[in-house]
Amino acid sequence: MNSLSTKHLLGIEPLTPEDIQMIFQVADNFKDIINRPIKKVPTLRDITIANLFFENSTRTKLSFELAEKRLSADVVNFSAASSSVKKGETLIDTVNNILAMKVDMVVMRHPSPGAAVFLSKHIDSVIINAGDGTHEHPTQALLDGYSIREKLGEVKGKKVVIVGDILHSRVALSNIHCLQKLGAEVKVCGPLTLMPKYIESLGVEVETNLKKALEWCDVANMLRIQHERQEIKHFPSLKEYTLQYGLTQEILDSLNKEIVIMHPGPINRGVEISSEIADSNNSIILNQVENGVAIRMAVIYLLAGKI
């Protein structure tokens, strides 16, 4: 077996554990390539990829674009802010117009959950979901799992706690699926108002005490509070959230073990994580960013083979 079980990357949920391992294995090669003097391979020189970003992004967009360019694909970029979407064009029309210009693959971020799945049903092109609302962000989960594997040797049997705004986080959902498929144990931690209603049905335990969660885990993945998706107040004040769920040197010192600290970015320093922790040796935040390019190259490479 040397091919993914799926034509698109719409989420982690449809992937098999073998798919994920295959992506990791190919990413190892790309990680080697992006550390060479010449960071580029000619593999996808006959492929054109459109990056459609209907929602703001810095890291993911740059990371995808770099991954595409290092595979020698031609890249066109599109962001909703400066497009005809503002003039009333529908999603399918926008994408069909772009595909009419002979684009082979679409990388899309969209504020609506399910946008990528919807598109895959109506459009004849390979689709990579770069984040759809509060639903999934598969490449982030893959790079998170890959970074844990790199740091701790393997993901299987590891205990991972995801801390923060689980309710509005696509990173959390994709991470839960990915880590469980790889055999890790997952807990979520945060105020109950930021927990989705049926989270336990995913086989995930909820812990409201940060210290207890940290004592249990090998890896803590700290999430940002997603103010842009919150219509009501879920906790009294940011200051109070930081006091209860902010990761500080003090609380890490009180544990009698070392844990790995992750964050998908963007970091709000002094809110969910203190500056000294974010910059400490236990933090693999920048490794995550580096691995992001290798993982996205692997996903694009494996899916491009199916065009």
């Binding site: 091919s3 090669n29 060479r36 000619p42 593999t43 083979g305």
Partner: protein, 180 residues
């Protein structure tokens, strides 16, 4: 369709070829001060390892040896049903200004060698690249590529396949010709 297999080289014969190739390399590279062996993944690495061992046996020289993967430089991506899964590239030394001896098991169309040379160039600018192959299927080249050192020339038809088996994987060293 039935497959028929014929053994072309056995373990002893392969060993004789490796000895001869090693001596030819010594003739051209003397003490190997600035020369390195690089095996082409996935199967050229076993030839490279044997040359390395034989060189140590014959002259006590420990030559630097690496492996190069050609997957992302191939010209048949998307022309096959499934994407090729890459192997490991292992070059923990600089190839800048080195004399490279590229090593593979079988030379056929020449396309893999072209890809390997392109892959190598992304690591730097070697002084020169030579090609060593255990088996050369002559008269079947698609590209203007020839080997500097050849273990054995064989004439084959297009419906035949040459496979080299190694102790490390298949249990014995031998070269077989398979007819479809």
């Amino acid at each position: 369709m039935s497959l028929t297999e014929r053994e072309i080289l056995n373990e002893t014969e392969i060993n004789i070829l490796i000895s001869r190739l090693t001596r030819q390399l010594i003739e051209n590279h003397n003490l190997f001060e600035n020369s390195v062996l690089i095996g082409v993944q996935p199967r050229g690495i076993y030839v490279a390892t044997r040359l390395q061992q034989k060189l140590k046996e014959l002259s006590g020289i420990e030559v630097t040896t690496g492996a190069i993967d050609t997957t992302f430089f191939r010209d048949d991506f998307r022309r096959k049903d499934k994407p090729l899964l890459p192997s490991v590239t292992n070059l923990d030394f600089s190839i800048e200004s080195k004399r490279i001896i590229l090593v593979d098991d079988v030379l056929f169309s020449g396309r893999t060698v072209r890809a390997a040379m392109d892959a190598l160039m992304t690591y730097g600018r070697p002084a020169s690249i030579e090609l060593l192959v255990l088996v050369d299927r002559r008269f079947s080249r698609n590209l203007p590529i020839e080997a500097n050192y050849v273990g054995k020339f064989i004439d084959t038809l297009s419906n035949e396949r040459v496979e080299v088996e190694w102790k490390e994987i298949e249990g014995t060293d031998k070269v077989i010709l398979i007819k479809k």
